[in-house]
């Protein structure tokens, strides 16, 4: 018996709803179960243990971080990397797509060569080469040769912190642009300049970043900071960085070899603006990373 138009329309619509609901059953069966078992984490741990210790291992799915770091200590050492420059080979552990937007941003122009994928069950370990990335010769976070100072004189080192007359500087993790970064947090007074000076081995370029932490401070203060680099006493570069640039990268070409390097960061306003006025005690802190990199191999 042929259906009239009303019945046909009703049948089609009910069919569509039924079909969507059936798809939802399948989607629910996929979504509503844990994907990762203890065995999967063990397999991932074994795969990571076989990797060279100096090659970064990154996690593609940021949200998985706390669980992943709990099972895979190897992930901790790469957490908060400034970017992927200086890492000719690296590895990405992923549930799905390995090169998420955050990782692509960290490539910052580097060309990649996929080297292969290890299937670890729900997870996969992707191997990449970045031949143009160069090697890290020197990193501001682990360079004891640089002497810190503000305009009142040298700062004193206490554990991971330099205590200066106009503030303090700490090598630590910081949230910048809603991502964790390991950097030098420069908690200085308004207008104060923090300076690091020393003899270092330079490569083909100096590459660094500056960002502001934390998100509340960024909301309530938009003043920029100034980064200056001097090589052998000659001013070579000066950047004005504001917090809407996020983790702002900068780079300076250098002549390889030993040189006297001066890094100066001036924070124009470190406090925050509140409904009650300017509060110098609620801080928005610039955080600096700087590394010397070689020419690509």
């Amino acid at each position: 018996m042929p259906l009239d138009a009303t019945r046909r329309r009703a049948a089609v619509l009910l069919g569509v709803f039924g079909l969507v609901a059936a798809v939802e059953w399948i989607a629910a069966a996929r979504a509503y179960r844990p994907l990762l078992s203890a065995a999967d984490w063990d397999a991932a741990a074994a795969a990571l243990a076989a990797l060279p210790a100096d090659e970064p291992v990154l996690l593609a799915d940021d949200w998985l971080g706390p669980v992943a770091r709990r099972h895979l200590p190897a992930l901790q050492r790469s957490l908060g990397r400034p970017d992927l420059h200086g890492a000719p080979r690296f590895h990405v552990l992923a549930l799905g797509e390995p090169l998420r937007p955050d990782l692509r941003a960290d490539l910052d122009g580097l060309a990649l060569e996929p080297l292969g994928v290890d299937d670890l069950g729900p997870l996969a370990l992707h191997h990449f080469a970045a031949p143009a990335s160069g090697h890290v010769l020197w990193d501001i976070l682990d360079q004891p040769a640089l002497l810190p100072a503000d305009r009142h004189g040298p700062c004193k080192k206490a554990q991971k912190t330099w205590v200066c007359k106009q503030g303090r500087v700490t090598a630590r993790w910081a949230e910048v642009g809603y991502r964790p970064r390991r950097c030098l947090a420069l908690d200085m007074s308004d207008g104060a300049a923090f300076e690091l000076r020393g003899r270092v081995e330079l490569g083909a370029r100096l590459r660094g970043h500056l960002g502001f932490t934390d998100f509340n401070g960024r909301l309530r203060n938009d003043a920029p900071a100034v980064v200056e680099l001097e090589v052998d006493g000659v001013p070579r570069a000066r950047w004005l960085v504001s917090d809407n640039q996020g983790w702002a990268g900068f780079e300076l070409a250098t002549a390889p070899g030993p040189a006297e390097l001066t890094v100066r960061v001036t924070s124009l306003l470190a406090g925050t603006f509140t409904p009650g006025g300017y509060d110098p005690d609620a801080r928005r802190v610039p955080c600096l990373d700087l590394r010397a990199l070689t020419e690509p191999a």
């Binding site: 009303t6 019945r7 329309r9 009703a10 049948a11 619509l13 009910l14 569509v16 709803f17 039924g18 969507v20 609901a21 059936a22 798809v23 939802e24 059953w25 989607a27 629910a28 996929r30 979504a31 509503y32 179960r33 844990p34 994907l35 990762l36 799915d61 949200w63 998985l64 971080g65 706390p66 669980v67 770091r69 709990r70 200590p73 901790q76 957490l79 549930l95 799905g96 630590r172 993790w173 910081a174 949230e175 809603y178 991502r179 964790p180 932490t213 934390d214 998100f215 509340n216 909301l219």
Partner: protein, 578 residues
């Protein structure tokens, strides 16, 4: 018989919901707002009990203000009910704690104090299910509803007339609402969001009756007052009802009578709702205009808290207009949502073409629309879309996720039931196929129920199947659990860690509530991170700042324990040597 059976099933379903909420939510941690509501509830109930013992105490201004100053930015009704419920049903807290730090035993000590305070909201959720089931069942009537016609429909025995069992739309409407993970989660809390959604539904159903009955009109005003006494969302109800009323008058295409210009239902709302609000909120008994002004000012200038939406943290306007629509799609199964959308279209189209009979007598002040078509579609569209449209305004804060537009869902549920009935009526299957509407109901409802059951007790972090559940939402960059509640599974582990503990987003008053009930690890005090030896972290995009503080403090980025929903971290416990 069918009507009685439907009513019995509706009440039974409501009771089952209350029982499941009362038991199931014992596993749901206390969220931030509940901490302050528990505290306020005790203060309000103390005042009420003193008043019961000695009524003159009710008029002691200073004592009353002391009690109701706590959390006076929200009306008192649910907190007062919660406090009195605790006085009735709270089990005593553990021995050995000071009296002020342990729950007092109620008259019939059945459940922990927090669970007792949650009970009134859970009862209202059950009432909502009953109302939806009854309103849904009425959609099975073969003809459109006429206002004032309360007689059972005569059996239509003419050949070719197809009927659907009322239980089908009844169950669809009720479970569409309560079966959603976010509705279920909020329904069990000592909060106001599901209660105000239920009371909004109750007011609207009462209004429908009031359009043709003076008795319902007299109830309408106080009922609106009760709804406003639950939460400020209800302040919009009379405005939307006014729009519906004017639209109904316009669509009647006849000159309104004098009585229709100032109808009793609206007079009742105007005259009886304000004193009801005043009576139910003792904070307003002194300086009512000043305090009402403060109340409106608080909500008008509400802070913009942080919330993640598609990988962006929003904490200042302009806020994305698409937020409530995307979040609704991400938390309500798509088939149910499509059904509701179709229901709105069909019902509004029907309403726009419906006309009152030509021989309709002049309408009166007391029954201004008696005999007119009910125009339910317009009601569902107004109440189902307004909350979402309001939140979509770029200046309206969006921090609370879906809870701020839960008031829309009962009306979307009814629209979905209407669409289901209309489609099956159009298809009119016969023979064995006539059971298809009931048989295929689980096909539509199971994804929501599955989502809710699987997400429990972390329903706030659960997402719909097509959004990919919690993992999919994390991939999409949607908020995870902004309320500091997912801590109960960590209590055991926390008892093995040295204190003090950094509480992060767990409100100190929520912690005290666990302590009052003997659920908090003894001796584990809260402390700022600088003094803490263990720390909690509730994961949200903007909370990364607090997480890196924990890493720096404890010298490790690996938590010792993590609460997850389908691999997605909700809460981490950090500990270390510092």
């Amino acid at each position: 018989m069918t009507r009685r059976l439907t009513a019995l099933v509706a009440v039974a379903l409501g009771l089952v919901v209350v029982l499941l909420l009362a038991r199931g939510h014992r596993d749901v941690g206390y969220v931030r707002d509940e901490g302050i509501y528990f505290h306020a509830s005790r203060a309000y109930a103390d005042w009420a009990v003193r008043g019961l013992r000695s009524p003159s105490a009710l008029f002691d201004r200073a004592a009353r203000d002391r009690a109701f100053a706590v959390n006076h930015e929200h009306p008192a009704l649910m907190k007062l009910a919660g406090g009195l419920s605790a006085r009735l049903f709270s089990a005593p807290g553990p021995e050995g704690q000071p009296a002020e730090a342990r729950a007092q035993a109620g008259l019939l000590p059945l459940v922990p104090e927090g669970a007792a305070m949650r009970l009134p909201a859970q009862l209202l959720a059950g009432l909502g299910v009953v109302l939806l089931a009854l309103a849904g069942a009425a959609l099975a009537r073969p003809r459109g509803h006429v206002l004032g016609d309360t007689s059972p429909p005569p059996p239509d025995l003419s050949p070719g007339t197809w009927t659907i069992h009322p239980l089908v739309p009844a169950l669809l409407a009720a479970l569409w609402f309560i079966g959603l993970p976010h509705v279920w989660f909020h329904a069990g809390l000592h909060c106001f969001d599901v209660p105000v959604a239920v009371l909004t539904l109750a007011v609207v159903l009462c209004y429908r009756r009031a359009l043709a009955s003076w008795r319902w009109s007299l109830l309408l005003g106080p009922l609106l007052g009760v709804a406003i006494s639950v939460k400020h969302n209800a302040l919009f109800v009379p405005v939307l009802l006014g729009v519906h009323y004017l639209a109904s008058l316009a669509l009647a295409r006849r000159r309104p009578s004098r009585g229709q210009w100032l109808p009793l239902p609206f007079l009742s709302m105007a005259l009886l709702a304000p004193p009801t609000v005043l009576a139910l909120w003792p904070w307003l008994w002194r300086d009512p205009l000043v305090r009402l002004g403060e109340y409106f000012e608080f909500h008008r200038l509400h802070a913009y808290y942080n919330t993640e939406y598609l990988h962006i943290n929003y904490n200042q306007p302009p806020l994305p207009w698409s937020y409530p629509f995307v979040l609704t799609w991400a938390t309500v199964p798509t088939a149910l949502l499509l059904l509701a959308g179709l229901g709105l279209v069909l019902a509004v189209r029907k309403d726009l073409s419906a006309k009152p009979p030509a021989d309709l007598p002049a309408n009166t002040f007391a029954a201004p629309l008696r005999g007119h078509p009910a125009r339910d579609g317009l009601l569902w569209a107004l109440f189902g879309l307004f909350p979402l449209l309001l939140i979509s305004l770029p200046s309206i804060p969006i921090f609370g996720g879906t809870k701020h537009w839960l008031t829309a869902y009962p009306f979307l549920a009814l629209a979905a039931a209407f669409a289901y009935v209309t489609l099956w009526r159009g298809l009119a299957p016969t023979g064995r196929l006539r059971h298809l509407p009931a048989a295929l109901l689980p096909l539509l409802l199971v994804p929501a129920l599955w989502s809710t059951a699987h997400g429990h007790p972390h329903g706030l972090s659960q997402y719909a199947p097509l959004a990919g559940g919690a993992r999919g939402a994390a991939d999409l960059g949607l908020l995870r659990g902004f309320w500091g509640g997912a801590v109960a599974p960590l209590l055991d582990d926390m008892s093995r860690r040295p204190g003090p503990l950094y509480l992060h987003d767990l409100h100190e008053l929520a912690r005290l509530q666990y302590e009052r009930e003997g659920r908090w690890p003894p001796g584990l005090a809260g402390a700022p991170l600088s003094r803490a030896r263990a720390g909690l972290l509730f994961h949200e995009r903007h909370m990364l700042s607090n997480e890196v503080d924990l890493w720096n403090h404890f010298g490790t980025t690996a938590p010792v324990d993590v609460v997850t929903l389908d691999d997605v971290p909700l809460t981490s416990l950090y500990a270390g040597g510092n």
